[in-house]
Amino acid sequence: MERGPERNGVLGACEELGIGFVPSGPLGMGYLPGTIDAHAKFDPKADLRSAFDRFSAENLAANKPVVDVLKRFAKKKNATRAQIALAWLLAQKPWIVPIPGTRSMDHLHENLGAMDVPLTPADLREIETAVSGITMHGGRMNQEQMQAVDQTA
């Protein structure tokens, strides 16, 4: 969901300097697997996502097209949406190491299954075409929090 590092020079600097890149929240902080919709409730006391712009009811609804793209490719590759998202990240650069997190044994096994989902160059082009027309709504945290995040290279 977050394409900034591809455009703001961060990945370019990593490549040039031989630095690895560890994308946090590689499943869109739980959004990309498709089980969180506009009706989801986040406990403001215990769940940081309650204050993140991308997790407002409005933006959860508005960002659904990206989940739909994952669903389409999941069907095609006989995989899950989470697996497509992780396989896509793994396919971007050999020095990218995604760190999906979960407390569920089932989700752990599902995430690890992403390594058995080979995306061909044609698949990657097709995914790029499908997502390039989609506008993401809402920052990954709120504006005040994002001010402390350094996004330049």
Binding site: V10, S24, G25, P26, V149
Partner: protein
């Protein structure tokens, strides 16, 4: 599981993010469940585990320390500094980093952190200074004593940090 290189650090191609098990995405999971999931990840070949002092705060590092203790030498741990948890706000002053790493090492039940990230850039501390604390020059900075085996940045500072 296949491996990848993060700079010089070799890790499994998928890592395990441990924040959400005990912090920030709802109430913490039962700790036995958390330990089981982390150990199962290792059983399946994951050798890279990510946490931070601020997750919880502290509870994520504690859980990871407990879960990885039996096989610490076979995994790589990433943790993060950069917040002032007691006073609030950011703090990457060299003396603060030297203080908080002791707590992280204790909670992680280890004598080293394989990858120690700056969680947020502290605008009050130039990156060159944070990397090589002036007060530590000529003595034993955390880098030189090998307790921190690799250094990570949120982003901007890679070029500047890479030069020092």
């Amino acid at each position: 599981m296949k491996r990848r290189k993060l700079g010089t650090l070799e890790v499994s191609e998928l890592g395990s993010g441990c924040m959400s098990i005990s912090a920030n995405y709802g109430p913490p999971a039962d700790s036995n469940q958390g330990v089981s999931v982390i150990r199962e990840a290792h059983e399946k070949g994951v050798t890279f585990f990510d946490t931070a002092e601020v997750y919880g705060p502290y509870t994520s590092e504690e859980l990871l320390g407990e879960a990885l203790a039996p096989f610490r030498d076979r995994v790589r741990i990433a943790s993060k500094f950069g917040f002032d948890i007691e006073a609030g706000g950011l703090n990457s002053r060299p003396d603060h980093i030297r203080k908080v790493i002791e707590g992280s090492l204790k909670r992680l039940r280890t004598d080293r952190i394989d990858l120690y990230y700056q969680h947020r850039v502290d605008p009050a501390v130039p990156i060159e200074c944070e990397n090589h604390p002036p007060s530590a020059r000529g003595s034993s900075s955390d880098r030189r004593s090998d307790r921190v085996l690799a250094h990570g940045k949120g982003s901007r500072t890679q070029r500047r940090a890479g030069r020092v």
